[in-house]
């Protein structure tokens, strides 16, 4: 027996050395596992080998490498009996030759078709923690002896170290890669204040970096606080329009700030619309919150075409991108709001300016230092200057010292803080015009004059009208007086003239007749004057004595 034992030990050592040598050469856990399942059957004289690794999200063992068995066998639902699986989870190996017991009918049928007779299942450990399962299968009944089991356990442990090391190596590589990509995405989203460009950069760039089929961004509407799909990539329109997902458990958790990784999205209760997910070919989903500081402002979802256990670094990376994106989105929103406000202010200014320009009177605003800060179109036209020229000019340019002392009401307002008006007479090119200048103070919170608004109205026409009206009133008075005088005089004149004419007929002495005729002639002269007075519609005056003027009835 001694030589056999030694030979076996030497064989194990050779296998161990070979496996150790090989797995030390690769840094990819998949390659490690492929290598193990490729070489072990020959080295240990078994027909097949499979490796499954524990998915921490689902708690199930996921097939990673296999050799020597059919795809149908590998696709069966139950890996082994519950008793064996429980032992493996405890880190205990199991060698089974009685495959008929404790297995469901479906599994039995597959195993029979595959011809598997014996199985050695050993846990893959790393630092006392089960990270996977290595199974060796034979199509001849075989009792695995303790030394073989111990050897395979050691080999599995060695493989566990190699897988973990390569995982760490790969994780570090990935983190370095993610760091670079994060920097790039950060640069992209922070290079613009355009909200659509930011979100577009995320949904376009992230699927490529994380090797997923699609990506969606939903943002909480600031006014309604309802999630709205704002961008997506790699997904069909029918999938995107499958219905509201606001009631999904995954969304609820993400909105609380937690990432949610779903291994099998086609059945997982944390998402709805399983049929739509199947139709779209989605297998796994990673959903992370889009945050701005501590506030969740949306949901970023990544969707894969293959089942995928998202690693911590992938989740961290997605969250970092979502955080970076959230910050940029909020900045863009703020910028958009500020732009909108600016536009509104500009629009209001334009509206106000148009109103002021449409006002016929000249309008001028001066500050407390008597500098012009605003002038309407009428003012600029009246003064023959452009707005650029006028703004900042001293007020005295527009109400000069040569004017009467109280004709510049701005000074009065600055002194009294009360409204002031004045009338200004301006003679230009031989034409005299009258301006009414009304100045009103604009007081600040302390009651001090901040600005003075002056409205300058050309009242020349109004003044002329008033003068004309006064003249008309005077004319009416004169005409009425003339009519009254005519009426009051004409009746007694009638009596006097008539009686004089009768007297003229009755008198016999020539001298007396001549005297009565003189009376009649003068009465008729008076009658002529009253006739003119009664029919007058206007009048002119002529000098009388000194400064006195009288109406010219001729």
């Amino acid at each position: 027996m001694q030589p056999d034992t030694d030979r076996t030990a030497r064989g194990f050592l050779a296998v161990y050395e070979e496996i150790t040598r090989l797995i030390s050469m690769v840094h990819d856990p998949k390659m490690v596992m492929e290598l193990v399942v490729a070489r072990l059957p020959d080295l240990l004289a078994v027909d097949a080998a499979t490796i499954r690794l524990l998915d921490r999200n689902s708690g199930s063992f996921v097939l990673k490498a296999a050799r020597g068995v059919s795809a149908e066998y590998l696709a069966r639902t139950n890996i082994d009996s519950q008793e064996v699986m429980a032992a493996l989870r405890q880190g205990v190996p199991r060698s089974t030759t009685d495959l008929e017991s404790a297995l469901d009918q479906e599994s039995l049928a597959i195993i029979r078709r595959e011809g598997v007779k014996s199985v050695l299942s050993v846990p893959v450990l790393f630092q006392q923690e089960v990270i996977g399962v290595l199974r060796l299968l034979t199509r001849e009944t075989r009792e695995f002896v303790d030394s073989e089991i111990t050897f395979v356990m050691s080999l599995a442990a060695q493989m566990g170290i190699a897988i973990t090391n390569s995982r760490i190596f790969q994780e570090m590589e990935r983190q370095v890669h993610f760091l670079g990509e994060l920097r790039e995405i950060s640069r992209l989203v922070n290079s613009t204040l355009d909200l659509d460009q930011i979100i577009g950069a995320i949904v376009d760039k992230l699927p490529e970096v994380m090797a997923v089929m699609g990506c969606t961004v939903r943002l909480l509407h600031p006014a309604t606080n309802r999630l709205q799909l704002v961008a997506a990539s790699g997904l069909s329109q029918s999938y995107l329009e499958r219905g509201s997902i606001k009631g999904e458990d995954s969304i609820f958790k993400v909105l609380k700030g937690e990432p949610v990784a779903i291994y099998d999205a086609t059945t997982d209760p944390r998402v709805d619309f399983h049929q739509a997910i199947r139709d779209e070919g989605i297998k796994s989903i990673l959903a992370v919150p889009i945050t701005d500081g501590s506030e969740v402002i949306g949901v970023l979802r990544l969707l894969t075409r293959e089942h995928r256990s998202f690693s911590d670094s992938e989740i961290s990376f997605a969250m970092a991108v979502a955080e970076e994106g959230g910050s940029a989105i909020q900045k863009a929103r703020t910028y958009r709001q500020i732009t909108l406000l600016f536009n509104q202010i500009e629009e209001q200014e334009r509206f106000l300016s148009n109103i002021l320009d449409c006002i016929r009177p000249q309008l001028l605003v001066v500050d407390r230092n008597r500098r012009v800060v605003m002038a309407n179109r009428a003012f600029l036209l009246a003064n023959g200057r452009s707005e650029e020229e006028v703004l900042g000019m001293e007020y005295s340019h527009f109400c000069s010292d040569g004017d009467e002392a109280d004709s510049c009401p701005v000074d009065q307002v600055l002194a009294s803080k009360k409204m002031a008006t004045s009338l200004q007479q301006v003679d230009r090119e031989g034409i005299s015009r009258s301006y009414e200048r009304a100045a009103t103070p604009m007081l600040n919170g302390d009651g001090e004059v901040e600005f003075v608004i002056e409205v300058i109205r050309d009242v020349t026409a109004q003044r002329r009208l008033e003068t004309e009206q006064a003249r008309r009133n005077k004319l009416e008075g004169v005409v009425e007086l003339a009519g009254t005088v005519a009426h009051e005089i004409n009746t007694p004149l009638f009596a006097a003239l008539g009686n004089a004419q009768l007297l003229e007929l009755d008198l016999e002495e020539d001298e007396q007749v001549e005297e009565v005729r003189t009376i009649i002639r003068n009465l008729k002269a008076i009658a002529d004057l009253t006739a003119k007075m009664a029919t007058m519609t206007g009048y002119t005056t002529r000098d009388y004595v000194g400064n006195t003027r009288i109406v010219d009835l001729d």
Binding site: T491, A495, G498, L502
Partner: protein
């Protein structure tokens, strides 16, 4: 010979008119009060009324309207110291035959009265 009613708020004016027209053989009734003149015309035959436009209470136009109501065939000469288009138009519309401006000449008055009575 005609019966003539003369109404003016100035007594001297009516007296003068009566003197002039009586010399022409007419019967002249003088009034300075509007109501008295209207009442007279309502109760007595009058061929011609000579009315001043400006009276004490009513206008000569209003009196003419009243006279026409009580004596539709009465003829009228209006006298005024202050002629206006408005009163002239109303007088003509109410059937006045003449619209004369004071002070009217004696001969002109005689002529106009003769012409109106001949109508």
């Amino acid at each position: 010979m005609a019966v003539i009613l003369v109404l003016d708020d100035v007594l001297d004016a009516v007296v003068l008119t009566r003197k002039i027209l009586e010399r022409k053989g007419h019967v002249v009734h003088c009034f300075t009060e509007e109501e008295e003149a209207i009442a007279f015309a309502g109760n007595n035959p009058v061929d011609l009324a000579i009315l001043d436009i400006k009276l004490k209470k009513m206008s000569g136009i209003q009196v003419l309207e009243e006279l026409k109501a009580v004596a539709p065939d009465i003829r009228a000469i209006m006298l005024t110291g202050y002629p206006t288009v408005e009163t002239a138009k109303e007088a003509v519309e109410l059937g006045a035959s003449e619209y004369c401006v004071k002070p009217i000449d004696k001969w002109e008055l005689e002529q106009k009265v003769g012409r109106v009575l001949a109508l």
